[in-house]
C-alpha cells in the first residue's frame, strides 16, 4: 500500500460516473505515476473533462475509488477532498480567473488563504511565478478582462502553481493558442515538470503536445481507457477509435518520435 502511494500520484479504480441514466465513465481504471506527464485524449463530449472533474471532486461519482497522493477522495466535495485540494493545482479550460482581482492578486490568492506571509514576500512570489510562466511583472497589474487568451492561460497556470502543488490538472491548456504560443506553453510545462518535479494530468487534443511533452498518453473511449502508454505504443494500437484519432487526416502532420 505504502509502496503504491510512493509510486502513483493518482489511482482511479472501477470508477463509474453518470448523469441521470446516461453513463459517461464506465468502470474506468487509471493510474498516474509520480512525476510523469499524462495526456488524456478522447472524443469531444466523451467524458475527458468529466473524468478530470471527478478526480478533483467536483462531480459526484456513482461508484469506484479515487486516491490522490495516497489520500482517498470523497464522493462529494467534502472535508477529505478539501484537504487533498491543497496538494493540487487546476488550470480550467477558460482560465477561471477571479474577474475582480488583478492577475497578481489572483496568483496571491491561494498563498494568502493558506499561508501567513508578509505582503512584500507575497508580491515577490507572485512576480516570480509570473516570470516563470513567461509574463512580465507589469502584466500582474492587469485585470483578467484585459488579458489575451494566451496570457489568461499563463496567469491561470501561475495561479495553479502558486502553492507548488505536487499535481497539476490541465484542461486543454493549449486550445485556442497559436502554434508558437502553444509550443511555448508545452516547453513551459515540461520545464516546470522537470524543475518542480510535478505530476501533470493533461486533457488535450493537441497532437503536437501529446507527442512532445507527454510521457504517456491515455485514450478514453466508451467511458473506458482503451489504450495507455507512450505515444509510439498508441500509434500502434489496434483499437478502431484510437486508430481513427491518430491516423486520421489531421494526424498526417504528426511525426512520431520513434518509427
Amino acid at each position: 500500500m505504502d509502496q503504491s502511494a510512493e509510486q502513483f500520484a493518482i489511482r482511479v479504480s472501477d470508477l463509474v460516473v453518470g448523469f441521470g441514466r446516461r453513463v459517461v465513465i464506465d468502470h474506468l481504471t487509471l493510474d498516474v505515476r509520480r512525476g510523469e506527464i499524462l495526456g488524456l485524449v478522447g472524443a469531444s463530449g466523451g467524458g475527458k473533462s468529466v473524468l478530470m472533474r471527478t478526480i478533483i471532486g467536483l462531480i459526484p461519482r456513482q461508484g469506484g475509488e479515487i486516491e490522490v497522493m495516497g489520500t482517498g477522495i470523497g464522493s462529494t466535495f467534502d472535508r477529505r477532498t478539501q484537504a487533498a485540494a491543497g496538494r493540487w493545482g487546476v488550470l480550467f479550460q477558460q482560465g477561471a480567473l477571479f474577474s475582480s482581482l488583478t492577475a497578481r492578486q489572483n496568483i496571491q490568492f491561494p498563498l494568502r488563504e493558506n499561508l501567513a506571509l508578509s505582503d512584500a514576500l507575497l508580491d515577490e512570489i507572485a512576480t516570480a511565478k509570473l516570470e516563470m510562466v513567461g509574463l512580465t511583472p507589469e502584466d500582474g497589474d492587469k485585470f483578467p478582462s484585459e488579458l489575451s487568451g494566451g496570457m489568461t492561460k499563463r496567469v491561470a497556470l501561475a495561479r495553479a502553481l502558486a502553492l507548488d502543488p505536487a499535481i497539476v490538472f490541465l484542461d486543454e491548456p493549449t486550445s485556442g493558442l497559436d502554434p508558437i504560443a502553444a509550443g511555448d506553453f508545452d516547453t513551459l510545462i515540461k520545464t516546470l515538470q522537470k524543475t518542480l518535479g510535478l505530476t501533470v494530468f493533461m486533457v488535450t487534443h493537441d497532437l503536437a503536445s501529446l507527442n512532445t511533452v507527454c510521457d504517456r498518453v491515455a485514450a478514453l473511449a466508451d467511458g473506458k481507457i482503451v489504450a495507455i502508454g507512450p505515444m509510439r505504443d498508441l500509434l500502434r494500437s489496434e483499437h478502431p477509435w484510437v486508430r481513427a484519432y491518430f491516423h486520421g487526416k489531421r494526424s498526417l502532420m504528426l511525426q512520431p518520435k520513434a518509427s
Binding site: 474577474s99 501567513a116 506571509l117 508578509s118 512570489i125 522537470k194 524543475t195 518542480l196
Partner: protein, 378 residues
Amino acid sequence: MATAPQLTATSAGDVLELRPSGSWIAANGSDLETLSNAVMPQLEQAKSLKMDMRGVSELDTLGAWLLEKLSRRAASHDHPIEIIGISENNAGLIDEIRQVNRHNPPPPRPRNPIVTKVEEIGRSAWGSGEDLSVFLQMLGSLCVALLGIVRKPRSLRLTSLVYQLYRVGWQAIPIILLITFLIGAIIAQQGIFHFRKFGADSYVVDMVGILVLRELGVLIVAIMVAGRSGSAYTAELGSMKMREEIDALSTMGLDPVVVLILPRVLALVAALPILTFIGSMAALYGGGLVAWFYGGMGPSIFIARLHDAVSVTHFEVGMIKAPFMALVIGIVACSEGLRVKGSAESLGKQTTTSVVKSIFLVIVLDGLFAVFFASIGM
C-alpha cells in the same frame, strides 16, 4: 515526510556560513520567512557568504526564492558567494529562480490626497453629465428603432415582446397585489386611528382614495417593478455584454436595440399601467376591508363615499404617469446593462446603480408630474 525547516548561521571571521535544512516548502512559508529575516542582520555584517544546501530535504519555489534572496542580498554588496551541496533536482529550480524578479516595476507614485479627492469630485461631476448623455442616447436610439417599426411593422419582435410582457407583467401580479393590498390596509388603519380623535374617521375614504389613485399606487408599483424587472434587465444585458453575445448580434447585422432593448422597454411600458391599475384596486380593497372590520364602515357606505370623494381625474393622473415611469425604468435598466465591463464585480455594481437610479428618477418624475398637474388644474 515534511520536517521542520532550520537555518543555522555560523560566522567564522568575515565568512558567514548558512546551513538551511529540512523542508523549505510553501507549507512552512511563515516559518521560513521568519528564519530568513532573522539572519539578515548577520548577512549585512559578513564579508562573504557560504551556503551549504546538503541538509535541505525538500525545496520548492517559495523556499528557493527565500534562499535566492539571501544570496542576492550578499551579492548586492559585491561579496563572494559560494553555494555547495545542491542536489541535482533542486539545481534546476534554483537556476530558474535566479532568472526572476530581476527588475521590479517602479512603485506607484505617492499622490497628494487633496488632489486625489478633487480629481474624484471632478470625475463624478463629469460622470453625471455622461449619465445624462447615455440616457438621451438610449432614448434616441429607442425612438429610431420605434420609427423603424412604424415603417415596417413586421420587424417588431412579437415573440420576445409577449415573453417579456409575461415576465414583467403577468408574473409580477401576485407580489404587486400583496404589497399594494397591505399598503392600502395600513393607510386606512392609520387614518381611522388618528381621524377618530376629532370625529373625522369617515374622511379616511377620501384620503385612501385620492392618495392611492393619484400617488401611491403608481409609485409603489413603479418602485417594485424597478427592483424586480429593472434589475433583471440590467443583469441579463450585462452578462450578455460580458459574454460577447451583444457583439455577436451586431456582427450579424442586427441592431441590439431593436432585438433586445425595444421589446423589453415596450413590455415594461405596456405592463406598468396594467400593474398600476391592479395595484390601485388591491390597495382600495385593502383599505375597504380595514374600514369595515376596524372602522365599522360597511362596504356599501365605503363605495358610496368613494364615489363622492374621487373623480375620474384622480384616476387619470395616476395612470398617465405609469407609462412614463416605465420608460425611465426601462431606459436606465438597459443602458446600465450595456455599461457592464468584463468583471463579475462590475455586473453587480451596474445592477445596483440601475435600481438606485431608476427609483430615484421615478420619484423625481413623480414630483415633476405633481407640479405639472397642479398647474393645469388636474
